[in-house]
């Protein structure tokens, strides 16, 4: 429960901090931290407009997408506290729950019949597919290391002892940061600020969504960020200490993640589209390094 409420709370801040960071780096004052959430609240009170060519898929997809995200949040543990739902192999369920939401977004964007949205959908599908091996090799390695199969058990049995295990932890945190960037369609993969449909990935898929649906999708991205932030902070939470230490570390890591994303988006140009698959695939090779590190720790290879 504590993890779920913390994720919800940090999701309210996350987009605002990114935007504020970018503004400060480019010498502007920028809107308040809560501006994105205010915009979302405004959208949620509006009605949606549907095109004549779209079917019921287009109408249910945003709600489905949002509910998969919300459900996925329930799986995230918090230090010694398991998530609201926890069972053996829940990280597989978690990954495919997110994939389900994404699947509906993709078919709903194809449903609109727009040529832009089709392009966006194809890009999104490709990149999500390329991210998948990295996530599973990473989680698989930790399952092997701890001998457990659920998020809660893996994280609560994760003890950093040797140098290699620190390296493994740092690499894992890095991989998760990049996965969070890709899953949320941020720089350097996608430019969320652009107005150019031809270069968009995620943004172009939701061009036709409006009002309540758009609000859900936008809040969904904030939630997704906070969720990945929570997973990353789980690597660093101290076990057996007072709970407020953990809360402080959690908040610190969420803040750091948002600032890092803001900084990357300020000082880098977006990748050329055909460099993206290569970049994303390199995550898998880092995950393989983690796998190798785990094998070393366990003494499976000499």
């Amino acid at each position: 429960m504590i993890s779920f409420s913390l994720i919800i709370i940090s999701s309210l801040f996350f987009s605002g901090i990114i935007i504020r960071t970018k503004c400060i780096f480019s010498g502007r004052k920028g809107p308040g931290i809560f501006q994105p959430i205010k915009d979302i609240r405004k959208l949620l009170r509006k009605g949606s407009v549907y095109s004549d060519t779209s079917s019921f898929i287009f109408k249910i997809a945003p709600t489905l997408y949002f509910s998969t995200l919300l459900t996925a949040t329930l799986f995230i543990p918090f230090g010694d506290e398991p998530g609201l739902i926890s069972f053996k192999g829940d990280f597989v369920f978690f990954a495919y729950l997110l994939a389900l939401g994404k699947f509906f977004m993709i078919i709903s964007s194809l449903d609109t019949g727009s040529s832009f949205e089709g392009m966006g959908a194809s890009r999104e599908a490709l990149y999500s597919m390329l991210v998948e091996p990295a996530f599973f090799i990473l989680m698989g390695s930790f399952a092997l290391l701890t001998g457990h199969l659920s998020f809660y058990e893996i994280f609560s049995h994760l003890h950093f002892g040797s140098y290699i295990s620190y390296a493994v932890g740092a690499l894992a945190a890095f991989v998760f940061v990049i996965i969070a960037m890709i899953e949320n369609s941020r720089m350097p993969i996608d430019d969320p600020k652009t107005h150019l449909e031809l270069t968009m990935i995620h943004e172009v898929m939701i061009l036709d969504n409006s009002g309540f649906d758009l609000g859900l999708i936008l809040y969904g991205s904030s939630l997704k960020f906070a969720m990945y932030g929570a997973i990353i902070s789980n690597f660093f939470l101290t076990r057996g200490k007072e709970w407020f230490f953990s809360v402080l570390i959690f908040a610190g890591i969420q803040l750091l993640l948002a600032v890092i994303i803001g900084a990357i988006e300020s000082f880098m140009a977006r990748f050329r589209m055909n460099h993206n698959p290569q970049f994303i695939f390199s995550l898998t090779s880092i995950s393989l390094l983690i796998f190798l590190g785990v094998l070393l720790i366990l003494g499976k290879i000499v």
Partner: protein, 499 residues
Amino acid sequence: MTRSIIIKNNQTIPLREIPVLGYDEFLEYNTSLLREHYNHCVNYFGFPQRNEMQLICCIANDSEHEIFVSSSVIDANTTQYSFTKHHLSFHIFERELAEISGINYCDHPWLKPVRFPADRKNKNSQIINYPFYNSHSEELHEVGVGPIHAGVIEPGHFRFICNGEQILHLEIQLGFQHRGIERLFQEKKKLLQRTTLAENIAGDTVAGHSTAFANLWESLSGFKADDDLQFSRTLALELERIAVHTGNLSAICTDIGYQLGSAVFGRLRTPIINFFQNWCGNRLAKGLIRAGKNNFPFTYNLREQLTQLINQFKPDFKEMYNEFKNLPSAMARLEKTGIVTQEQARSIGAVGMSAKMSGISRDIRTSHPHDFYKNINHEPILKKHGDVYSRTQIRKEEILQSIKYIRGMMENIPEENKNRNRLKSPSPESFCISLVEGWRGEICHCAVTDEQGELLYYKVKDPSMHNWLALALAVRNNEISDFPVCNKSFDLSYCGHDL
């Protein structure tokens, strides 16, 4: 027998002195001139003359500072052989002629409508039934962008045929704005109205088009522009170049998602256009350039302001550009993107930056100098790769070059002539051509007057007319997601094309 009359930039000649050739000879003569690389066609148009059509073709010789003007009289309802068959750079002129006057060309490769003007000959030719190229393929897909632009700038329709992410073909269709600028020039009789029209041909080239008009009008009226008039026109042109190029660099950064560059270059552009506000009361320099007078003389106080402004601008600009240039992720987007080869640029008759980027030295400031450029020994900046990065580099170097020119010019400000001659009315039955190097490239205005000295025909040619095709060629085999940055690096005018 001479087949053409040789004139200089901004020279007025009696209409009857232009040799009238038979169409076959006219065709043979002009297309043969273009076999030499230093010649290019600056304008080719037709106007009604006693139930017939008089065609005038102006070919500029860039090395000898001369313009060859020849003409032919034909019946508009006949079928003719096209110039384009011999040299592609005539394509846009002949498409325009065919659209307006109904001349039928039997061997023109692609008589695509240019801009669907209200006075077109064939009223059935409409954008709604225009047949775009299409692929009829299972594997390829088509993407239509516009006419409403994502950034709501100006209307234009882009039709891509793609293989996945790769562009195989791009067809650009403009002509969504129907202002009828050229006809308004004939209808509006007051000089002020016409000047205002010239200022509004393209909002980003106010100094360019209004200088072209003022020079042309003064030449037609036999007025010799004083030094102070020439000075302020040249200064305005160079300032406009700095402002627009800086703004463009900002836009290129935006399109590749580089926020720092986008913010800083945007910030740097503002003080330059604000200087125009201080000078003439308009940030786009509207009202500054007038034929035969100058309402806003350049004072020593303004010189002080501008010197200070440039001293602040230059180090900041250089620092930001170096930051940008040394950023690998930015260079990866610019280099080898949107290449136009020299051969392509030459064949379509590209002008301005689109010519200079692939090593073609085509710059009116050198080849047909007007105003103060006669005193400045201008060297065009040339690049050879023809990619987005070449166009970016040209912008940067032209900005620094313009700063140098402005500093040099300001050392010696000409005195304002207090008792200027009054403008006379234009000389009757004359022809005049005015070429100006705007920031985008060569601007050409031509005028023909009737027996009373009234405008019989006014022809405007913005550099975008030639260069839109360069964009279509540049994006071939590029990724569709690189189209915006290619487009921005050419930065062509929709309204300059649509008129």
